[in-house]
């Protein structure tokens, strides 16, 4: 579908909007009284949002039968990694200013940092193996490896849930979305044969993977 080219361009632009807004606000000196906290929260939220959107691609493709959607998945996943990278860099540079002793202590002693850092580390092999060449080279194992993204999603939501002081509404909302997205896969896994048509309108992944 020729039109899909433009959809990809639009999705690419949309993923850059939060980053652009952050830069614009930084340039305007408009990041509030605690800019480092603002940047940390902003990049953290968008990491999770884009990760959830990425996890939504496959269910949406299967529910609608719109197979082209798969062409957005890698880009979305890499954008999620981009925002996680910004988030982690903020922690490393702006928040702790390369105080590696303190950073190491935080990662080991603070469960919310431990789980967040774990999620970040798990994303690295996924980003590295996202090229067409790696997909070919890893074959069947590529798909197995990339199931790690489920753990990344869980780590991200737990990270958020554990760091809030008392208002758990937003982490719970993200958790609910994640539960639906992972629940879909679980149901599909548990009902391998005689799948309801609803679950399997799209064609098999192999024929559409890039």
């Amino acid at each position: 579908m020729k039109n899909f080219y433009w959809i990809r361009i639009a999705a690419f632009g949309a993923c850059l909007i939060p980053f652009g807004q952050l830069l614009y606000n930084a340039y305007q000196g408009d990041l509030g009284a605690n800019p480092i906290e603002t940047i940390t929260r902003f990049t953290g939220s968008w990491s999770l949002i884009i990760l959830l959107v990425t996890l939504g691609v496959t269910p949406l493709r299967r529910l609608t039968g719109w197979n082209d959607l798969i062409k957005l998945r890698r880009m979305l996943g890499l954008f999620a990694f981009f925002y996680v990278l910004l988030h982690f860099s903020t922690f490393l540079v702006l928040d702790h200013f390369f105080d590696f002793d303190r950073i190491a202590k935080d990662i080991l002693k603070r469960p919310y940092v431990t789980v967040g850092f774990t999620g970040f580390v798990l994303m690295i092999p996924l980003a590295i193996t996202s090229t067409a060449k790696m997909i070919r080279r890893l074959g069947k194992r590529w798909q197995q490896l990339h199931r790690l993204v489920y753990l990344v999603g869980i780590a991200g939501v737990i990270h958020f849930y554990w760091l809030v002081k008392s208002d758990i509404r937003r982490p719970v909302q993200y958790g609910a979305v994640l539960a639906v997205l992972l629940g879909y896969r679980l149901v599909k896994f548990l009902l391998p044969s005689g799948l309801p048509r609803l679950f399997n309108r799209g064609t098999s992944l192999k024929t559409t993977a890039e």
Binding site: A26, Y27, G29, E37, H96, K165
Partner: protein
């Protein structure tokens, strides 16, 4: 009790100005480059809401105080736009946005319990109860950030002395207004309440009588803005910020230690005392350092927020790990 002058922060502990300025330049330059590369988007406009009309009125005849620190003040904008005041919303910017709902007249403060002269004060009488002083204090939030704020108020002891506590009065409890119309954060939500309303706090009597403990009715020479806890709030500078209860309507003198809001919410994270203590971490994050709002590098948190010379004797012999 020996009351010494507050100790000054050594200049070596203050972030050098160049470093701080460089950070701004760096962020500016980096973002400018990236913006010219393409992304031009509309930002959020910085709305800066000071609350109802009464806030901003000048307060007359304010004395200086030797308890004030000479550290660099945070700006009025920082102090009035970055607030933890869940009754007006849970995000830092919410209280400034919702300040307009919190009207402060009429307003009364009921003083009751173990006192010989219980009395309900009108707020305008509270404002005249004792000569107003400017107290420039460090404020250390339990979330590991801090500010320097020029409060205006008077020692809480002035109020306590007027009502004459009985021999049974060992603690005081302070209560915030409960009025979901004026405090939209108190409105019921399908997700449940963030805290049990009304917000309650408490002090031991010697803490309440300590000369550093004040009731504040203003800041920066003006009437207290709603988002900072108008019309009258507590300020206890050696304790985490949440002890300094806002928008007080009741002061109760008690024989037993009263319940406090954050302790009710999460007892293992927030104790009754909640003295600033770099050696006792919050279960989920470190309290060893803090970010002074407006500074880039974190600074070391000081025992009792740097007020140890004045208050350490209150806790002599107490295990502060146990009584956190």
């Amino acid at each position: 009790m020996l009351i010494k002058k507050p100790n000054e922060i050594r200049s070596s502990e203050i972030t050098p100005r160049e470093l701080y300025l460089n950070r701004r330049q760096f962020i500016r330059a980096a973002s400018a480059t990236a913006i010219s590369a393409g992304a031009m988007l509309s930002g959020l406009d910085a709305s800066f809401n000071i609350g109802e009309a009464r806030a901003g009125e000048k307060l007359a005849n304010v004395k200086k105080s030797s308890y004030s620190t000479s550290e660099k003040l945070n700006s009025l904008k920082d102090i009035t736009s970055y607030n933890n005041f869940y009754e007006l919303g849970v995000d830092k910017g919410d209280p400034a946005q919702n300040a307009k709902y919190l009207t402060t007249r009429p307003w009364t403060v009921a003083v009751e319990g173990e006192v010989k002269k219980p009395k309900t004060y009108d707020i305008d009488d509270i404002m005249k109860l004792s000569p107003l002083e400017e107290r420039i204090y460090r404020l250390r939030c339990v979330e590991a950030w801090s500010m320097v704020i020029p409060w205006i108020g008077f020692p809480l002891s002035a109020l306590i002395n007027q009502v004459e506590p009985t021999g049974n009065a060992k603690f005081i409890q302070l209560v915030t207004l409960y009025d979901p119309k004026r405090m939209p954060g108190q409105q019921k939500s399908i997700f449940g309440n963030v805290l049990d309303w009304p917000y309650v706090e408490g002090l031991r009597m010697d803490e309440a009588m300590h000369p550093l403990t004040i009731l504040s009715v203003g800041l920066y020479g003006e009437v207290l803005p709603s988002q900072n806890g108008a019309p009258v709030r507590l300020v206890v500078p050696w304790k985490y910020g949440f002890k300094s209860i806002k928008s007080i309507v009741k002061v109760r003198f008690l024989e037993k230690q009263p319940a406090t809001a954050w302790n009710l919410q999460t007892p293992n994270e927030y104790g009754f005392y909640s003295n600033v203590n770099p050696e006792v971490d919050h279960p989920r994050w470190s309290q060893a350092t803090e970010r002074r709002i407006g500074e880039f590098l974190r600074r070391k948190t000081l025992m009792f927020n740097g007020y140890g010379d004045q208050v350490a004797t209150l806790y002599k012999g107490m295990d502060l790990k146990k009584f956190y």
